[in-house]
């Protein structure tokens, strides 16, 4: 598949529109189909990869995700070892984590509460009684030979995750979709293995072994990589808001495996493959799209899709079969004999009298602790400040941006819509250019509020203020007022001076004046640009336009 630039796909898109028009006019079917074929095979930027043949309906992708979220707790799920990202190898390992004989699991209360809170945030039914099981398989980073998980009766079932998907050419149409969550279960993490191919050995670090994970199993309700990416982004925001997981994919706190298959709508689901080794949300979208395309090509050429596990290679953007996983694994699930069933109580009233209060997990208490979740936050922003929905997404997406915005709005009399313009274009533009986070911004909310107030009070024009902003970015110690004084960017409010400048411009461009008088008003913008250039942007565009109109008409 040749790599295509966006220009190529734009050309094909316009060709397609042309072809559609032709079809309507002249009933040319084949032309449209040929264009469609070239479109699908050439472009990589499509949302929904479709392969069309003349008689059969289109094949669509079906994607289900399995997410492992590392619970944000101090100690591990069944032992008292510390949970830390970087630490000397094997220093955070207890006797139980090393699976030494004679050790027993002891459940961590914080992990149970985290799982219940996540279940409540995702509208799940919390099972009052849940059971632990052993999942047996052999691998060096799991010294026990089994993993304690919850397969028969997990802690939460039947939830939904609502996410929003941007569509349209300018990505400003918001579609709300939802994914069903089959279950949330508590399980142990395995250790980390570092493969040393030169010496043909694997080095095992058990620091991560035994850390609590929440496995979220989602139903295959998604159809492409973008939807999966939007789902995961939303899940990250929810988990971070709850505090149950830091959801950083690069650090391995959120691991996503995708189950991908293709089929024709109405047919039973096709054979699925599992894609692993995905380290970021962008890689997830790429991996899923590649896998859907690959499976479609295999089926089109008459082959069969194998039920296998494939690893995603971020350098090439391809998925490759993994050599260690041979065929379907039989995990020989068995009840964990060392752990009695886990009971979670609905309310304080349901707890039996003889049970120690420190030993119970009460759902109502946890429900009261659930904070404002991202969907509610966005709605509140739109309603309170009257900003657009897409802007609320950016505000909630970026860490700390919402607080920044709200601080600026409080400190200035300007309308929130204007403030959002400043925040989105100037602030975010500069942050993205330099790859910085909101917390690293050299311009504090107070400084920006000061600048906006200057614009509002008419002391500085908006274009001059943009220059001031860039200066403040480079030299954060100076205030807005100081920079305006230094660069002499005060707004020219003197009507005399404005008249003189405009007259000068009009005198220098007699041809343009003729064109304006003839009826083409757009040339006025060119004259305004001239005035702005001459005055270094220190004029109010509204006033200048009024004056020029007077002069030329």
């Amino acid at each position: 598949m040749a790599a295509s630039s966006s220009g190529y796909s734009k050309m094909l898109f316009s060709l397609k529109i042309y072809a559609n028009k032709l079809q309507n006019l002249y009933h040319i079917d084949t032309f449209n189909i040929i264009i469609r074929r070239i479109w699908t095979s050439g472009s990589k930027n499509q949302i929904q990869p479709k392969v069309k043949t003349r008689s059969l309906p289109q094949m669509v992708g079906v994607v289900g995700l399995e997410v492992h979220a590392q619970i944000h707790s101090r100690s591990k799920l069944f032992s008292g070892s510390h949970v830390k990202f970087m630490a000397p190898p094997n220093s955070l390992v207890s006797h139980f984590d090393a699976s030494l004989p004679g050790t027993l699991p002891v459940l961590n209360r914080r992990c149970v509460e985290a799982a219940v809170m996540t279940g409540l945030a995702l509208n799940c039914t919390i099972n009052r009684k849940s059971l632990f099981d052993r999942k047996h398989y052999f691998y060096a980073d799991m010294p026990a030979g089994y993993q304690i998980t919850q397969q028969r009766l997990p802690i939460a079932v039947d939830g939904t995750l609502v996410y929003s998907h941007f569509e349209g050419r300018k990505r400003n149409q918001v579609l709300t979709r939802s994914v069903r969550i089959k279950q949330i279960q508590l399980e142990q993490d395995s250790g980390k293995s570092l493969h040393d191919d030169e010496r043909s050995q694997t080095l095992i670090d058990l620091n991560r072994a035994g850390v609590g994970l929440m496995e979220l199993v989602m139903e295959p309700d998604m159809c492409c990589g973008e939807e999966a990416a939007a789902t995961i982004r939303e899940l990250q925001l929810i988990l971070q808001a709850l505090g149950t997981c830091q959801a950083n994919m690069a650090e391995g706190q959120l691991r996503v495996d995708a189950n991908v298959s293709v089929h024709r709508p109405g047919d039973p689901l096709g054979v699925r493959t599992e894609v692993k080794n995905i380290n970021s949300v962008r890689h997830l979208a790429k991996a899923i799209d590649y896998e859907i395309q690959r499976q479609m090509e295999v089926l089109q050429s008459g082959g069969k899709v194998l039920n296998e596990t494939r690893a995603f290679d971020s350098r090439s953007g391809n998925t490759i079969p993994m050599r260690d996983k041979e065929g379907l694994q039989d995990y020989r699930f068995m009840p964990e004999p060392n752990l009695p069933p886990l009971y979670v109580y609905e309310s304080d009233a349901c707890v039996p009298a003889d049970v120690d209060p420190a030993q119970v997990v009460v759902i109502d208490r946890i429900r009261a602790q659930v904070p404002e979740l991202p969907p509610a936050r966005r709605v509140r922003l739109v309603e309170t400040y009257g900003i657009l929905l897409e802007h609320s997404f950016t505000l909630v997406n970026e860490d700390g941006l919402m607080d920044y915005f709200e601080t600026v709005v409080q400190m200035t009399k300007a309308e929130p819509r204007k403030v959002i313009g400043w925040v989105m274009k100037e602030l975010m533009g500069n942050l993205n250019l330099q790859g910085m986070k909101v917390a690293q911004s050299p311009i504090s909310p107070h400084a920006l509020a000061e600048l906006i107030n200057l614009v509002e009070s008419g002391h500085v024009s908006s274009s001059a203020a943009k220059q001031v902003f860039q200066e403040m970015w480079k030299v954060p110690e100076k205030t807005a007022g100081q920079i305006v004084k230094e660069l002499d960017l005060w707004m020219i409010n003197d009507r005399e001076e404005l008249w003189r400048t405009c007259q000068g411009v009009v005198d220098r461009h007699p041809e343009e004046v003729q064109i304006i008088r003839a009826g083409n008003k757009k040339v006025l913008n060119k004259l305004m640009g001239e005035v702005q250039r001459e005055t270094k942007g220190r004029t109010d565009p509204v006033q200048v336009r009024a004056i020029l109109e007077d002069m030329t008409l």
Binding site: H82, E326, P340
Partner: protein, 182 residues
């Protein structure tokens, strides 16, 4: 060792006890044996030994009835493919004829459970089901045992445990049968 044990157990379940077993009758037992005649019963020694002399709590006479072969489901045959799969999953070497026989007899012994009527009985999840699961507070109490744990390993590299590069698959059946003849 597992094989001989289960062989004997399997044999005694289906046929009456060997006549050479000494049988001493305790008074309490006789009433008990007459009551339950049709199904496999659990041992209930606690009730029996309350009034009797301090004798052994183990009943001296079997309190259960042997179950006829006709009441059991058809015997399960373990195919060589299944033996292969089980060996791979559990890493237990029982590919020989005695091993498979032993396994089949063990399955037959367990088949007796089918005779029990479990209508309306909730399946038991764990023998600990009437205990509360202890929940630990989220504090760090263990760790920093790297030296102690690494000493247990035969080979370590810079505080890491060393393992082979991946799971070494078991040799195929043909190669294995050459080895397991002994």
């Amino acid at each position: 060792m597992f094989c001989t044990f289960c062989k004997r157990a399997a044999w005694t379940a289906i046929r009456p006890p060997h006549p050479r077993c000494k049988v001493r009758e305790l008074p309490a037992l006789r009433t008990f044996t007459s009551a339950s005649r049709t199904s496999w019963s659990r041992w209930k020694h606690e009730r029996d030994s309350s009034t009797s002399t301090p004798e052994s709590k183990v009943p001296q006479m079997p309190t259960w009835e042997p179950i006829a072969e006709s009441q059991l489901p058809p015997p399960t045959k373990v195919s060589p493919d299944l033996v292969d799969k089980l060996e791979r999953l559990a890493l237990v070497d029982f590919g020989s004829k005695e091993g498979v026989d032993c396994l089949e007899k063990a399955i037959r012994y367990a088949d007796q459970l089918h005779v029990v009527n479990t209508d309306g009985v909730e399946p038991m999840d764990s023998v600990l089901e009437d205990r509360t699961l202890y929940l630990r507070a989220d504090t760090v109490t263990e760790g920093e045992r790297a030296e102690e744990l690494l000493k247990l390993a035969k080979q370590t590299v810079e505080e890491y445990f060393v393992a082979p590069p991946g799971n070494i698959p078991l040799p195929k059946r043909e190669e294995r049968s050459a080895h397991s003849e002994f």
